[in-house]
Structure formats: C-alpha cells, structure tokens
Symmetry: C2
Subunit: 358 residues, 2 copies
C-alpha cells in the first residue's frame, strides 16, 4: 500500500468545512485505490494568529515541509483586516509559499457544461472555456526589495515596492509553463507589460530565448491590459497563460470569474522538489462561515490536483474528478451554483453525495 | 467669439482617420456654439520616430503645452514593436503625459443601449453599466526609479521597476476622484493591493484620511484581484473607481471591454493646470489603417470630453454627444459595432452622418 503524509491547513472562515469534506473524499478514494494517508492538521492565517500570535507558526511550516503534500482551505477575515502587515493572515500564506518554494501556481479556469449558465458571459462565449493560468508565485513585486515606507527628497512620505525578476526565476516558470502547454493544447501566451516595464522586457527576452527549446509550442506575447480585455472578448483563444506574480493574481481571478463558478476551481502551487501546496481559489467567505453553506467542490478538486501533481497518483485523481462530475450530473448544488431544477444542499450533504460517487 | 488653440496629434495607424473626423465635428459644432479653433497638427509616436528619430519631438511637447487642449488619435504599430525602450512610440506617449503633468486619467465605461448586444456579457449584466475609472497617470511603476537591468548578488541578470507613490500624488488623484464621484453617483471605490504591497497600504491610508473631507461620498476599498472579478460578476455595483497607474491600465481596459464596444469609448487626462490630453481608449489598429474602416465615435466623444473638461464648454460638449447618439439611433455603424439591421459605413461616411446630426 502506498502511503503519504498530508498536511491539512483548514485556515479561516469556511476553510474547516471544505477541508473536512476533501479529507473524507481523499480517504475513501484512497482506500479504493490502495493509498494510505497520514493527516497532520496545523494552524495557518487568522486561526494561527489567534492561537499563537503569528500567521505562520514555525511548527506549521516545518510539518508542511516534511509532508508529501499540503492541502489548504482558505485564510483571512474581517477580524484581522486592520492588522499590521506582519500580523495579517495573508502574510502567513505568503510566508508558506516562500517557505515551500512553490514558484509555480497553476490555476485552471474551466467552464463546467452543467454550470455554463452561471457565467455572466453569454453561453456561446463561456461554453467550452478551458484555460490554465500559470502564475509565478514566489517572486516579483510580492517579495521584491527594497519595500516599505520612506521619505523622498522633498521630505514627503512615500510607500514603495520593487518588481524584480532574476533570470533563473523567469526561466524556471517559463520552462514549467512550456511543459504544461505541451500536455495541453500546445499554445502558450506569455503576458507582460514589456512596452513600459524593464522587468517585463527582461521577462519577455528570457521567455523568447527558452522558446528555442520548445519549437512544438506556439508561443505568443500579450500586454497585460490587452489580456484583461481578451479574456472577456474571447476566452477560448487561450490555452495556457504564463505571467508574473501580480499580473497572475489579477488575471487568474478574472479568468475564474469568467467561468461563473469560482466555487468549483482548484489550484496547485509547485516547486522543483518538496511538497506542493493545493487550495481552492475562492476565499474564506466569512459571511457564510459555520453555516454549512460552503461549496466544497473546489477543495475536493484541489485534492485531485494534489494526487495528480503532488503525488503522481493519476488514477485516484481521476476517480475524484469523475465523482465531482457525477455529483453535478445527479443535480446536487450548493447555493452559489444553484439554479432552478437542481437540488440545493449544504456543504456536508454535498460531501456525502460526492462520497457516494467516488 | 471664444477662441481656443488645439493641438492635434493624429499619431499612427487609424489615428489620422479618426482625428480628421473629430476635427470636422469640432469645427461645425464650434461654429454653431460660437467657438473658434486654431488647430496645430504635430507628430507623435511612430510617425514622429520615422520623421524625426524620437517619439516625442520637443516641438510637439512645447506646442502642446502652449495650447488649450490636446487631442490625440492613437500611437504604435508592429513596425516599431521591437524598438529599444527610448525609441518606442509608447515612450513618446508616456513622455507627453509626464510633460503635460496630466496625473488624472478619466476612463468612462458606458454601455450604449443601442449596442448592448455587442457585449460578451449577458444583456441583463451589461445593460445600464455606466462607470468611471480614474487612473493615476504620471506616477507609480510607470515612472518609479530605480528601474532598469542589473545583476544580483549571485551575479545573475535582473530586470526591475519601482512602484512608488508620494503623499501628494495620492492625495491629488484621490481628491480628484472624490470630486468626480460627487458629480456622479457619490460612490467611490478605491482599488489597491493593501494586503500585500506597502505602496498600496500607503495609498489606502491617504485615501482614508481624505475621506473625512467627503462625508457625502460612500467610500469603499477593494483588492485589485477582487475588482477584476467584480467587474465581470456585477459591473453595475460600481460608480467611480480610483486606482494607481498599472492597476488602472488593466482595470480600465477590462471595464471597457465589458461594454462590448471599445470603439465608442473616450478618455481624458487632466492636470492641475495647463492643457488636458484627450484620446480614444482604443489603439492604432494597424490592421485596418488607411482602409476607411475605423470607428471615429470614440475620438469624437473624446472631443466632447475636451470641450467639457478641457475648455469648460459644456453646451458644445453636449451637442456633440447628442449628435453621436442621434447617429447611432439613425442606424449608422462601422464594422466593429455592426449588427444585422443596421447600416454599415466607413469612417468618412460615418463622419458625414455625425456632422448631419451636430
Ligand atoms: C490572499 C492574497 C495574499 C493572495 C495573493 O494575492 O496571492 C490571494 O489573492 C491569491 O491569489 O491567492
Ligand atoms: C500604450 C501604453 C503605454 C498605454 C499605457 O500602458 O498607459 C496604454 O495601454 C494606455 O492605457 O493608454
């Protein structure tokens, strides 16, 4: 029997509810596929702040580093919104990403045929959208130095950050993206702002140089403002997108909203070695936390990504993905994706229905 | 008779075609409203590069500075895409913005009832959208220093830029935005990434402090990734948006695409004093340049903004806006906004129809 150690980070808001469902789904699918799990549940974000005073306790990071994969619910909430930077839940997440060295963030935006009407885009525009945003996750303006607050030559207060990329940071994410594109539609669009920013000019130069090694991939370049438009005008033109940390933050959220059902979308963050970090792209939704209203599909699909990209357990991943589709086909929906004619259920009951389909 | 000097910058691609129409519309509406114009046509962008070797000749800037307002067509094209930074058409535009000190960029995103079906968003989502993005235009990462290419402590090549805002830069754009919101729906949404970036934390702090002076304006704050989603989910929730240079670049383009007809959207860039810069938000469209296919509406509406915000000639501005609506109602369309049952015309003929409606 294959055996893996998984760190569970329920986090805040609806995090614990969706993680609980995903854990059950992992256990059941594992028992069928001959996979054993040891789960370690640890604190992150607001939950960690309340309990320990820091958003990423050392213990959480060291346990996560030693495990085979990390599954995260969601972090953040109004309660901690006014905290100073080093005491924000978000800072814990950024420290976790940096600590695990997961530089490649994969964010699929897939329109489920069963949910196409949930998109605010016209059916003919949304139908069949299946794109992957690959976001650089441990560099750029999120981590660049110098950063902080200062005084300029006129004695005026300032706030500043540094967008910076070194050659190897661009090369490894670009290489990663070329490889993913090769397994998908062999089309890669690199998004930058090379008409204005030196950091982007350098990005484009490195991506272009690497393209020599991937003659089978159709590479294009797009300015970020145009990409924000094209995602709305015709999202089906995209197959795989690669971009920097901040542009990826914006464009992957935009792309996910195009599907109309962000409660369905998982993500994976991977490094060169060591455990990957898997999480739904939705947030902690404090408004509905603890009310059994959360949609656990995205976290369950994140568990499938964990199996595929984190553990190489393709069959178990597919089993979970089929169970999700089957549950959708049987008409079960949480409130966020409900439409008339389908069956409205809570988070727990949806979890039970997914288990029936596993 | 009131008399004004206008600098015309046709620029590249379809620029000359749309500027020619807007000039005729200004002249005719001016003759009715008792306004006289002296036009100075100057070089900018690729056209300037080809003729003078620089994208913003000194003469263009000095003539522009001395005029009452500047009307720009569009700049850029494949021909100059590979140029070094200081020889890019875009650099000329950035130098012009900086030279005119136009720190406030107003970008309305309005869905015209006649064109609502051109949006890829569902009718009920797009209908009635009328929002204004106010983008900081002369600061932030576009102009921040240090910037360039370097070598890091590992001897590796890097590319870098600085996102920086000083107190007065934030205060003046925020004040501007509060004033605009006051004339609109009294709702202002400030977009930042204050959960990660110090530059954004400082931005939010200054905006919050200024809010004391505008108790009648409902102020909210939104993270840029969420804003990119909310624009698609429910654009009607927004009235006035204020944000930094790079986020504004991305979000204003996204917002404009939501309307489905970027060929209709004007923009204004204003400073504390001196001439404003007015331009359509669409680009130079090199593919259709010189073919009489361009849509001149956005430039004509930019001329209306020039009258309203640049010269304080509200009546003449309204006359032009009414002429545009009337021409739309009479069914005239260029190819980009054509739908069956309407009359397809070229740029020139559309110009003549607008003149009939002035
Ligand atoms: C919570 C926040 C720090 C984070 C980010 O900006 O990376 C989130 O928006 C995301 O995309 O995962
Ligand atoms: C052409 C380019 C430099 C410019 C910008 O990024 O500001 C354009 O995208 C715009 O929004 O006016």
């Amino acid at each position: 029997k294959r055996s893996y150690t998984i760190t569970l980070l329920p986090g805040d808001g609806i995090g614990p509810e969706v993680i609980s469902v995903a854990k059950d789904v992992l256990l059941l699918s594992g028992s069928i596929e001959g996979i054993k799990y040891e789960f370690h549940e640890k604190l992150l974000g607001g939950a960690a702040l309340d309990a320990t005073g820091v958003p990423l306790p050392d213990e959480t990071l060291s346990v996560a580093k030693e495990s085979d994969a990390v599954l995260l619910g969601a972090i953040g909430g109004y309660k901690w919104d006014k905290n100073e930077k080093h005491l924000k839940p978000e800072t814990g997440l950024l420290q976790l990403r940096a600590g695990l060295k997961v530089f490649a963030n994969l964010r699929p935006a897939t329109v489920f045929p069963q949910l196409v009407d949930a998109s605010t885009l016209k059916r003919e525009v949304a139908e069949g959208v299946d794109l992957m945003v690959i976001r650089e996750l441990t560099g750029g303006i999120y981590f660049g130095k110098p950063r902080g607050f200062g005084t300029n030559e006129n004695g005026e207060e300032t706030g500043y950050n540094t967008e910076i990329y070194a050659a190897h940071e661009i090369d490894r994410i670009a290489r990663f993206a070329f490889e993913v594109a090769r397994k998908r539609g062999r089309k890669l669009c690199s998004v930058d702002k090379a008409n204005v920013l030196e950091a982007s000019m350098f990005w484009r130069k490195r991506v272009l140089a690497l393209a020599q090694e991937y003659p089978d991939i159709e590479l294009s370049h797009m300015y970020v403002d145009n990409a924000a438009m094209q995602l709305i005008r015709n999202p089906k033109q995209f197959d795989t997108i690669v971009t920097n940390n901040i542009f990826g933050d914006i464009l992957s959220d935009e792309a996910s909203m195009i599907t109309g059902s962000i409660g369905m979308l998982p993500s994976a963050s991977l490094g060169d070695s060591g455990p990957g970090l898997f999480e739904p792209i939705h947030g902690s939704a404090p408004d509905i936390a603890g009310q059994d209203k959360a949609n656990p599909f995205a976290t369950v699909l994140s568990a499938a990504m964990l199996l595929r990209y984190g553990l190489g357990e393709e069959k178990a991943a597919e089993r979970i993905e089929k169970a999700v589709l089957d549950t959708l086909n049987r008409g079960f929906r949480t409130a966020d994706i409900y439409s008339s004619g389908t069956k409205l259920v809570g988070c727990k009951q949806l979890g039970e229905e997914i288990l029936k389909s596993v």
